[in-house]
Amino acid sequence: MDKMKKLKLLLANIILAGVLVLGGCADAGDSSQSSSSKETTTQESASSEDQNTNAEDNSDDTSAQADSGNTAGSDTAGKTKAAASKAKTSAVSTSKIPKYSGSPYIKVHNNVPFFKKSDLTKKVFEKYSKLDALGRCRTAYANVCKATMPTEKRGRIGMVKPSGWHTVKYNNVDGKYLYNRCHLIGYQLTAENANESNLMTGTRYLNVDGMLPFENMVADYVKETNNHVLYRVTPIYTDENLLADGVLMEAESVEDKGKGISYCVYVYNVQPGIKIDYETGDSSAKDSRRSGQSSAKGTYIINENTNKFHKPDCRSVKMMKDKNKKTYTGKRSELINSGYEPCKNCNP
């Protein structure tokens, strides 16, 4: 990649980080629309040959700086500089996020989303950022409500190959396939199916253990209350890596000003037991001899109903019905190879 493109990409990443401080990616050029209509912005991938492309791409993110007090509404360069300076003080950057240590996610910013009070409106919208020069998806942002939710089952998405995509299987991965085409904003929230701007290469663990519980919480809240929830997902990349290190997930309920839903978490794009090269998406099974965990013998409690296994002192064991409970002594790796999943709480 030539130097100009590298510079533009670096600038785009700084601006993206700045979004996390300043909050939101409201379109400064947004025309007023009735709150009952759905505004969807899904832009085509930018041409890599267009010198102005990155500046246009940046406008998705730079317009998010509106709350910075920058009144240079149409001055992209001015906004870019403001965003860059803000990015230096960002509380969310890959260097400041602790390494993965067993939990699929970590709370960020005291679990308070970066939205501004003025963002909390009933105006329905969906915004999916253009893919960057490397074909990577970026921030997806929506005001989720019943009107945005699907009315039919999800269709095929196999035709989309997000950046870093590989089709690879491992026995110790739930469902075998390491990677899922992960919706940034889940289909159950905005019915965006095969939108390449809403799909990233994510591990099974990120998709099911990390992101899905947070989506479920928002979906069920909206169904129950008919309220709106601001919802934003931002993939975080290191340098020119094709695979995101993780995603920042933010959500806040509108009508009750966050009393119902409010969170700000970083979800790790990892897969326990698998080593991933984030530059390319290549992967390999971790050496069980080095990790010591997979080959170690131990005593575990299996729940034959849920197909999960636990440490004997896990709180879930206390709740287990005797008929479903089975004590197992042996290798952890054999349990996983037999199709049992480790408990997410006790992490056996």
Binding site: P213, N216, E224, T306, S316
Partner: protein, 135 residues
């Protein structure tokens, strides 16, 4: 004393000081099942009953102390020291979903009897499972 608690698949109850979920069908079931006894709860929980019949609902921050033996206590948020020796029934509603959680139901039910179990359709949940545990 009897407890009423809602949990997800991992026995989670709350995340970020907020309930994981709510469902009007669960509230209806709670009110029907507990008839004619009193139901104690705090202000946070009372808010979700604002469209229901609240005539049997008693509100207090220290409701676990104030509740009599036949009363029900609906616990959602906050950490309460529960005198388990006073408990003779736990009504557990399962969302049958996985939500994020940082506060869990952790009473050891060994020695308790699953006296009753029923499933019903929620308003915003496909299936709710209610378990009645007794000593």
């Amino acid at each position: 004393m009897k407890l009423i608690i809602c949990v997800d698949d991992n026995n989670g109850m709350m995340f970020n000081r907020r309930r994981q979920s709510k469902d009007r069908e669960v509230r209806h079931d709670i009110l029907a099942y507990t008839m004619p006894e009193r139901i104690w709860m705090n202000e946070y929980s009372l808010e979700q009953f604002e469209t229901d019949d609240t005539s049997r609902i008693q509100v207090a921050n220290n409701f676990l102390i104030q509740a009599d033996d036949n009363d029900y206590c609906f616990i959602e948020n906050g950490q309460y020291l529960i005198d388990e020796s006073r408990l003779d029934e736990i009504v557990l509603y399962h969302w049958n979903r996985v939500y994020p959680a940082d506060y869990y139901f952790d009473i050891d039910l060994h020695g308790w009897t699953l006296a009753d179990q029923k499933e019903f359709k929620g308003f915003s949940h496909d299936k709710i499972t209610r378990e009645i545990w007794t000593r």
